[in-house]
Symmetry: C2
Subunit: 344 residues, 2 copies
């Protein structure tokens, strides 16, 4: 894997600082859960699956040296700090629940063995995420023509996951299957995940990529320049409503208007059957500074109001298919998502 988003090494968590890409490749090392929580909040690491993996590793670091009742109390403190970082991606809550289950089954272990077991679970989440992406990628690739040009938004790539990627995993799998594939990437304001991260990791894999401003996607779709849109998701509700990076909803509307299939790459860990519809998904608002400043330089006049929602919800009726590691779900999603998620 050319890109190492997150790694467990010598009882610390290492992450590439995604705020500095593509111009600087700096790897940060975290030895306690507070550092991991900070890294998630400040977007050193981002992308729903990667956040889930980071949180699991954070729990393992946090639990080190504890056992029994004290480990349970400690877990609550650690999980609270991690849960407070970012509200929209369900993978974070999903990973914390999974780590909690393992903890409760192993409260009788001594601190060293409990830590080893928790670390093992975090690493399992890490490995399973990559495997899920590869399986999801193969299912998705079968939907693509050859040659194929894909429009994507934000970064649902190796950098958003333990590796390989969800939306970009489909692109990679299409290439591995011998298809000729290229990508249009929305730059994705305000954090520029598209121009900075998607372009960077596709360049590393020598997959042709063209960057556009978000407001140019409608022109690309109208001009017949792409065969499909593929995006990731931070949380998909039981009815198929898709929360994803701000700007996904208008992209889906434009794709629908121009008859272009709109696919969502959704590992099962990002599908929240407890959440009936998109209206119930909490939408994070982030700091005004993300829009008011760039690289420390002021771009809006001082004192101007800023509204900075980080996600939006695409209604299920605009989604052509939802691609998971267990297969492709089609409407009605209420049934198809549950069937895939509950399959043994």
């Amino acid at each position: 894997m050319a890109v190492k988003t997150i790694e467990w090494r010598s009882d610390s968590v290492r992450m590439i600082d995604q705020r500095l890409l593509p111009t600087r490749e700096v790897v940060r090392t975290y030895r306690d859960y507070k550092g991991v929580a900070d890294a998630i909040r400040t977007m050193v690491v981002r992308g729903a699956p990667a956040i889930g993996v980071a949180a699991a590793m954070g729990v393992a670091l946090g639990i080190k040296g504890f056992a029994g009742k004290r480990a349970e109390t400690r877990f609550n403190t650690v999980a609270k700090a991690l849960r407070a970082t970012r509200p929209t991606a369900v993978n974070l809550a999903w990973a914390l629940e999974r780590m909690e289950r393992v903890l409760k089954e192993n409260l009788s272990l001594d601190p060293a063995h409990l830590f080893r077991r928790m670390r093992e679970e975090a690493l399992a989440i890490y490995r399973e995420d990559i495997e899920a992406n590869r399986a999801l990628g193969r299912f998705g690739a079968e939907l693509l023509p050859d040659p194929c040009t894909v429009l994507t938004h934000c970064n649902a790539g190796a950098l958003a996951t333990a590796g390989y990627g969800t939306a970009l995993g489909i692109v990679r799998a299409a290439r591995e299957s011998g298809r000729k594939v290229s990508v249009y990437a929305d730059e994705t304001r305000p954090f520029l995940q598209g121009s900075r991260l998607t372009a960077w990791e596709l360049r590393k894999d020598r997959i042709p990529v063209t960057v556009i401003a978000d407001n140019m996607a409608a022109t690309v779709l109208r001009g017949g320049r792409v065969n499909c849109v593929i995006v990731g998701t931070d949380r998909t509700a039981a009815n198929g409503d898709v929360a994803n990076k701000i700007g996904t909803y208008p992209l889906a509307v434009m794709a629908h208007r121009h008859g272009v299939p709109f696919y969502v790459a959704a590992p099962l860990s990002s599908i929240d059957l407890e959440c009936p519809s998109g209206e119930r998904i909490p939408i994070e608002e982030r700091s005004p500074r993300e829009i008011a400043e760039f690289a420390g330089k002021q771009v809006t006049p001082k004192g101007v109001n800023i509204f900075n929602p980080a996600f939006d919800v695409t209604p299920a009726e605009l989604v052509t298919a939802i691609i998971t590691e267990r297969g492709v779900a089609y409407p009605p999603y209420g049934e198809s998502l549950r069937a895939l998620k509950e399959r043994a």
Copy 2:
């Protein structure tokens, strides 16, 4: 007028450098037509009506010292240089044609008198632009409720015109009529006319403004946060198709989806009856650097492709009304625009 976009002073043209706003207010002085052409091309000055005024003043500077046949030849050279700067805004061609008519009627004058006459015509274009904006603003303001929140894209304000503005002229007129009015401004990538220019001039007039990234407009529209959308236009075709800053088309689609009126503020100088429909409007593509770099800092990996169309076309059926200085045009625009434009 708090904002001086462009001014004729002592036989030179002065413009505020819009590339440096809002952090630096630098006024540039141009003494020949080549400087004016450069200023238009590099976007020291931008906005269709302002470009028209700048071109007229550029012709006046260019014609100085010429008369008779030599003035005609000189005009061709000057007009060619100015016309080559930016293809989409029809105001540029419109201003050049008007200056050419005056030139042809006055070829018998000596150089000093011909220059004076041409200067007079350029200043008439300047004054008439402000008057047109004020009249347009009054017609538009009548369409707005009280209180009213307007969503706008790019900058169709004082900085895009000789003064007062088209879309923002309507906002100003609404305020002058006693209405309580506030604005959401798309930041407008890649040149950030919204966060830099619209926010700056509204702040100067103490009109409340909230800046969003372009991809957040759909969330603002869905959330019922605005009463209408108002944008300017670089060229409106005879059938009512509207060319305007890239991102206007998806904004119109989203406004239509959410039942929000979509108004175009179009001085008659920007309505091109010779152009039957939007398909015939030339769309400028600008330098990849506008997207590859942000405030002089590289944001995309080196060697990545960029697609940077500067405008898009909104089909007439998405436009609720087109507001001119002679009144408001409603569909079918083929009739209503011609009636307004040809009225004595």
